[in-house]
């Protein structure tokens, strides 16, 4: 029998045609190699990967939910400031409307900045929690 090339031997084993040819050393070695390559490694992951991944996902979902809540809070603060300004304007117009508006105008950026900083603080806090999360 003609000696088979490496290519032919590999193709033969890929197709599952492992005919016994005791005199064909290369085939025997390839056959053993293919068996070894199919074996699962002894090492593996710790038990409970699915629970760890689910816990991370829950934390991520909580973060998204809290971000949504912060955004609603921010909009509420801005809306409250706008309404408070309008109310102040309507009720104090006859008395000292101009000074109330000036006061509002002077502090509006502090109010907005405080709301933005509070949101940023919570956002960064949640991101750090998520990145350091290990189960």
């Amino acid at each position: 029998m003609n000696k088979l090339t490496d290519e032919e031997l590999q193709k033969m084993l890929e197709e599952g045609l492992n005919q016994p040819m005791d005199d064909h050393e290369d085939l025997m070695v390839y056959s053993q190699l293919f068996n070894e390559l199919k074996k699962e490694p002894n090492e593996g992951l710790r038990m409970g990967l699915s629970s760890r991944v689910a816990a991370r996902l829950e934390l991520k979902q909580d973060l998204q939910l809290s971000l949504k809540n912060y955004l609603i809070g921010f909009v509420a603060v801005v809306a409250f400031m706008a309404i408070a300004g309008l109310v102040a304007l309507v009720f104090t117009k006859s008395q000292d409307g101009s000074s109330t508006l000036q006061l509002f105008d002077r502090y509006k950026w502090y109010g907005l900045l405080s709301a933005v900083l509070l949101m940023a603080f919570h956002y960064i806090d949640q991101r750090i929690k998520l990145s350091k999360f290990k189960v």
């Binding site: 490496d6 290519e7 590999q10 050393e25 290369d26 070695v29 390839y30 053993q32 190699l33 293919f34 070894e36 390559l37 199919k38 074996k39 699962e40 490694p41 090492e43 593996g44 992951l45 710790r46 990967l49 699915s50 629970s51 760890r52 991944v53 689910a54 991370r56 996902l57 829950e58 991520k60």
Partner: protein, 185 residues
């Protein structure tokens, strides 16, 4: 039995228990791909978690044109490759740019010690090969993907996949042949 369609539909409705089933079903597949590229245990665990979080995030984009296992394996492969590229400790300096020019170096003391067990020896040899060879051997033999599926996972043309796989196995066979003769003595 794992009903892929039902599990996907359930996950998309927000069922985390269904997602846990999916993780249990595919964690070996993901681990095999990652463990051939990443050596350290903690890194492997982190990447496995990252892969499944990506799977969860992008599951709505999965079109049933390919198998779910192929889609997940692609995410695992790309995540592990990106991780290796970004981490200096995993960067390969001793390998030729073209894997076809790779040859095993002479035996080192570690190799002599490990030669007592055939499976361990084969794994040791695979660990020394270029990453393309390592990944292809795993995807084909351990994960049992077809050439076409491996092309979809890695983005390598089918011809390249066949060529690399042939060469990797030939190199392993040559070393195994010497090993078997050595053990016969």
């Amino acid at each position: 039995m794992f009903d892929e369609q039902a599990v996907i539909a359930s996950i998309l409705k927000g069922n985390l228990q269904a997602f846990k089933l999916l993780v249990n079903q595919y964690e070996k597949l993901v681990f095999f791909v990652i463990s051939r590229l990443v050596r350290e245990e903690q890194d492997r665990e982190d990447i496995c978690q990252e892969v499944f979080i990506k799977v969860h995030k992008n599951l709505h984009t999965f079109k049933q044109e390919s198998k779910l296992s192929t889609w997940i394996a692609r995410i695992a492969y790309l995540t592990a490759i990106n991780f290796v590229r970004q981490n200096k400790k995993y960067q390969q300096r001793d390998y030729p740019d073209d894997p076809d020019k790779y040859h095993f170096t002479t035996e080192d003391p570690e190799e002599l010690l490990i030669k007592k067990n055939t499976a361990a020896y084969v794994n040791y040899l695979i660990g020394k090969m270029p990453e393309q060879y390592r990944v292809l051997l795993t995807l084909y033999h351990l994960n049992e993907f077809s050439y076409q599926e491996i092309e979809n996972i890695t983005g390598m043309p089918e011809g390249t996949v066949k060529n690399y796989l042939f060469r990797a196995r030939k190199l392993l066979k040559e070393r195994l042949q010497v090993y078997l003769k050595y053990n016969e003595q």
